[in-house]
Assembly symmetry: C2
Homo-oligomer: 188 residues x 2
């Protein structure tokens, strides 16, 4: 059974810092390139970049201007195919609303994070995403703010390795999660 | 059956550029951080950074000095646990020799790349790595130079997504490959 349309969001606010304080992180070009390329590889239709900061939004649009419309698009068409999935929005709610409009269905937000023990398994998540358009939510900094977890949305189990260490970069975690959920053979 | 000890190498020379010409790429901090964190998560024992450029080697050693021995180690012990896997070497042969000495066995180099169709499957690769210490070889730039493929070493099949697009960053590809080969449950 195939997945419904799938999207991802990378949240720069509200997220927490190492002390758990609420912060807004800066958008980094490499996050956008890496996660867009992973998103494109695994067939996602949208990659939302969430930042309330106007100057950061302009930065993303400049990046897209170059790679999607400008000289970068001809120089590296594969990069264009990835980055054209990006939409910049000021809040996660706007990402959710846009994805709802595109899919004409109620999307299923699924929160990700390294420190939650109460999450659903990858298998369960995959099952849910066969019925409803998924929206995977990734946090920057030290993770999504507590308010995300107060909506009753599903939380995905962390990516675990061989021991207790699970301090992957968001770029690496997103790649693995997309592979496990949306890879051609499901979990391989 | 568990894997034998596993290591990875990130090669900055010789690699090819977009035209297929042989080049030496610059070491980037983020590659080292990301891949070291993925390597630590999946239980690798070494992460070799291959560059023949003395100034680049010094750059890596400065980075390690900060995060492994300096103030960064106390600030972020989890980062230290990842970056302490790194060894800087001038050639891939030196990485292979070091890994041979550490494991007291003949290591199995496995080359990675996005464009090879003649590779072994992840399942086959995992089987081989249960018998011999593996050394996964990742190229920067547009991939490993042809000479790597002239040694008779195994090549791993590319990470495929849902269509033909497979232009992952080396950081994302390494994360997925380590998860598929060395994740707790094998392929999940």
């Amino acid at each position: 059974m195939t997945l419904q349309p799938l999207a991802a969001a990378l949240v720069h606010a509200p997220v927490v810092d190492r002390r758990g304080d609420l912060v807004t992180t800066a958008v980094t070009n490499l996050d956008l390139h890496d996660i867009a390329r992973s998103a494109r590889t695994f067939g996602l239709q949208r990659f939302y970049v969430v930042t309330p900061v106007a100057e950061q939004q302009r930065l993303v649009k400049r990046l897209l201007g170059h790679w999607v419309e400008g000289s970068g698009a001809a120089y590296n068409p594969k990069r264009r195919q990835a980055l054209e999935l990006i939409r910049v929005v000021s809040t996660f709610k706007k990402a959710l609303a846009d994805w709802r409009e595109i899919t004409a269905a109620e999307p299923l937000p699924v929160l990700t994070g390294a420190s939650r023990d109460d999450g659903i398994s990858f298998e369960t998540c995959r099952g849910l995403m066969q019925k409803q358009p998924g929206l995977l939510v990734f946090g920057t900094g030290w993770g999504l703010a507590p308010e995300f977890f107060e909506n009753g949305w599903h939380v995905l189990e962390p990516v675990r390795g061989v021991e207790d260490y699970n301090h992957l970069s968001v770029r690496a975690a997103a790649a693995i999660i997309l592979d496990r959920l949306a890879g051609r053979s499901g979990n391989n």
